[in-house]
């Protein structure tokens, strides 16, 4: 229940439309003109900033004003869902999240196991070609597949990429807390490779698993802080929609399948 409103006199209530920019309008009206209606870009920027600065001369109430005791001062890691403390706990958490999201996750023990697993996947799904980018893990994977590979490291044809049944990429991090894969267009072969082919296979190293989202953002900052790539993306599960009667359907526009191999 909410009680009838009480307005603290501190917060002066004004009709916003009465507030104008006196320094600008005043000069014009002193000269007997209407203030000018600006139409081009640069002055729109100044108009907007002028209105913002004028508006912010009044102070707004702090959030949590109506709460008995607003809880503040906690760190984000103490608010977000709990994460594991050891690698094993976090692998288990990532696995649980991946299963719930209908992504496939496998922890592999050797490069040999990855080769065998990929070859099995190739035969089961009948891949005749693949798309990937160069990298330590992806190079080994493409070799193991023994298929023609479209590489996105140099200029490529997006129509051809769309025809590839699988896109194989590396990543920047795996996030246990949410089951997300963190990619950038620098680490994962551009913007389209991880989203255009119907099956996205991610190859990650064990040391790329981080506990939570704050750690993932810290990692991105540490790695790219000085020069960010033009795209950072947190991919969580295969592409999905619930737009028809809130019923989950996978593969709305992006990949229908997401497979994550961790070495």
């Amino acid at each position: 229940m909410v009680e009838a409103t009480t307005i603290s006199p501190k917060f002066e209530c004004r009709n916003p439309r009465e507030i104008r920019n006196p320094s600008r309008d005043g000069l014009w009206s002193a000269l007997g003109f209407e203030p000018p209606a600006a139409s081009h870009c640069m002055s729109e920027r100044e108009n907007i900033f002028g209105r913002i600065r004028e508006a912010l001369r009044l102070t707004a109430p702090q959030p949590g004003l109506h709460d008995a005791a607003p809880r503040s001062g906690k760190r984000v890691t103490d608010l977000l869902p709990a994460v594991g403390r050891s690698f094993d706990e976090n692998v288990a958490l990532f696995h649980k999240n991946a299963v719930e999201l209908k992504a496939e996750f496998r922890l592999l023990s050797s490069a040999e196991e990855l080769r065998v697993t990929l070859a099995n996947l190739r035969d089961a799904d009948g891949w005749t070609r693949a798309a990937s980018h160069s990298g330590q893990l992806t190079d080994a994977a493409c070799q193991a597949l023994g298929l023609p590979v479209l590489l996105t490291d140099t200029a490529f044809d997006k129509i051809e990429l769309e025809k590839c049944p699988v896109g194989i990429t590396e990543c920047d991090a795996l996030v246990a807390q949410t089951g997300s894969v963190v990619v950038t267009n620098r680490s994962a072969g551009g913007r389209a490779l991880s989203v255009l082919p119907p099956h996205h296979v991610v190859l990650a190293r064990r040391d790329q698993l981080v506990a939570g989202l704050p750690e993932a953002f810290a990692l991105l900052k540490a790695r790219y802080g000085a020069d960010y790539p033009s795209m950072l993306s947190f991919i969580t599960g295969p592409s999905r929609t619930g737009d028809i009667e809130r019923i989950l359907v996978l593969g709305a526009h992006g990949p229908k399948k997401l497979t994550i191999f961790c070495l």
């Binding site: 409103t5 209530c13 729109e44 608010l79 997300s180 991105l220 960010y228 790539p229 009667e245 526009h253």
Partner: protein, 464 residues
């Protein structure tokens, strides 16, 4: 009464008696509520998270000039072209101008409420471009030539049968009414559109000042494709979307997904800071960011309601609102329906024309409790009512209070009137529900509570 108010009353009356509509909305929202509560429970401290999220947005909105400057500096450093629009018309002209200068023919769009707000699609179509909405829900309502029903679930009001009929009529392709097969029809159609489109238009959920990036939240991958394949990318966003730091997303992204869709985090959360950079092999050659005011600075100037600019457009307040759930999204006749629409629309589009939305509330406060960034929605609805009646008092209310005041101030009159009231209520059943019932305006949709059989004073005197 404004034309908007007349339309609202008419549609609200029709839809609140429509049981089928209510069943569809309740089914969808009850499913959502289960998932939302499940995910909320995973947080170690949900209330603490709300407070911190509110503080982050407060910091950004109350230093908007500084953070906007930082945001724009970062974008421009990576070769992004930033444009400013004070009005909807300016924003439309800017975007049409960019598309024209690129000799574009087809445009693919990912979901953006800001684009709905400025009626961008109509402007682009009038200028001769083919515009396709790529979010499945938006695609469906676009085919039906309807406005989105909800800011997060645009096609929530439709059944699979209705969607199949729409696809059959407009796409001549509807194998069955299974959601899976219908989604695949849309996938096939839209894949070609992404590959052919010259321009991609997106909205943004957040604007990160620290790194000069926009952040887009989605589940389908349609925004990812829109930002990857066309040669030109345009992002339209309101100036209030700014947040100070990149790591603020670690809190805001899971909160948005939890209350917005009952997910711990959405399928794709992507930050874009510029067009294709040196050494990158795909992505747009040009990236334009259009920053829209459209009366947001007027709302900023109202310190009392400034926190309504904290809104992250999650739709949580719509989902819990008993009015929204009964009258439905289209009834509001605005881009932003529900409690947040009732708060901001009168401020953005005219208090007297839109004040009826601030009255479309039971003041239960569910919206205030649901809001992940602690916007004081229920109070703001009351403040809008107060401002509206201060600005233009209602004649009937003036007369009513003129009559009430002497009665309430005079003991004898008060006793007489309450006694008459008790007597009158005994006779009321004779006329109840008939148009000549003096309380008909009230009783045609509501029960009249009985006047107490004795006053407090009488009870006090008679107590043993």
């Amino acid at each position: 009464m404004s034309t908007a108010a007349v339309q609202f009353k008419r549609d609200a009356r029709r839809l609140s008696a429509d049981r089928r509509h209510r069943e569809i909305i309740n089914t969808a929202l009850n499913k959502y509520a289960v998932k939302r509560d499940e995910k909320k429970a995973l947080f170690q401290d949900w209330e603490g998270a709300r407070q911190l999220a509110a503080e982050i947005k407060w910091e950004a909105v109350n230093h908007l000039d500084r953070y906007l400057e930082q945001f724009v500096r970062g974008l421009e450093a990576r070769g992004t072209q930033v444009h400013w629009a004070s009005t909807a018309q300016q924003a439309r002209d800017l975007i049409v101008g960019i598309a024209r200068s690129r000799n574009a023919r087809s445009i693919v769009k990912s979901k953006a409420m800001t684009a709905e707000e400025i009626h961008l699609n109509e402007a682009l179509e009038k200028a001769g471009f083919e515009v396709v909405e790529s979010d499945l829900g938006e695609f469906i309502v676009q085919l039906r030539e309807e406005a989105p029903y909800h800011i997060v679930f645009p096609a929530m009001h439709l059944t699979r049968g209705e969607i199949r009929e729409t696809f059959e009529k407009k796409l001549h392709d509807a194998p069955s009414d299974e959601p899976e097969e219908l989604t695949m029809v849309a996938r096939r159609v839209l894949r070609q559109k992404y590959l052919q489109a010259d321009v991609g238009i997106t909205g943004a959920n957040f604007a990160v000042a620290e790194t000069g990036m926009i952040s887009i939240t989605e589940n389908e991958g349609n925004a990812r494709l829109t930002a990857a394949l066309p040669k030109t990318m345009i992002t339209l966003l309101g100036i209030e979307k700014v947040i100070p730091r990149l790591e603020d997303l670690a809190l805001l992204l899971p909160m948005l997904a939890t209350v917005g869709a009952g997910q711990l985090i959405s399928g794709y959360n992507t930050m874009y800071g510029g067009p294709r950079q040196a050494g990158e092999t795909d992505g747009p050659e040009e990236f334009h960011v259009v920053l829209l005011d459209h009366n947001r600075t007027a709302l900023l100037a109202d310190a009392e309601q400034r926190d309504s600019l904290h809104c992250i457009r999650c739709g949580a307040c719509l989902n819990v609102c008993p009015i929204y759930r009964n009258v439905g999204g289209h009834t509001y006749g605005t881009t932003y329906p529900g409690p947040i629409g009732g708060v901001i629309t009168p401020n953005l589009r005219g208090l007297q024309d839109w004040k009826h939305l601030s009255y479309a509330s039971s003041l239960c406060g569910a919206c205030t409790e649901a809001c992940p960034v602690k916007i004081d929605l229920a109070h703001h609805l009351l403040q809008n009512r107060r401002n509206a009646s201060q600005q233009k008092p209602s004649l009937w209310q003036k007369i009513a209070f003129k009559l009430f005041a002497p009665v309430a101030n005079c003991r004898v009159l008060w006793i007489l009137v309450t006694k008459l009231g008790r007597l009158g209520q005994k006779l009321h059943p004779l006329v109840l529900g008939k148009p000549f019932d003096p309380a008909y305006v009230w009783t045609k949709t509501r029960d009249l509570p009985p006047v107490a059989q004795q006053s407090f004073k009488e009870w006090w005197r008679q107590r043993p």
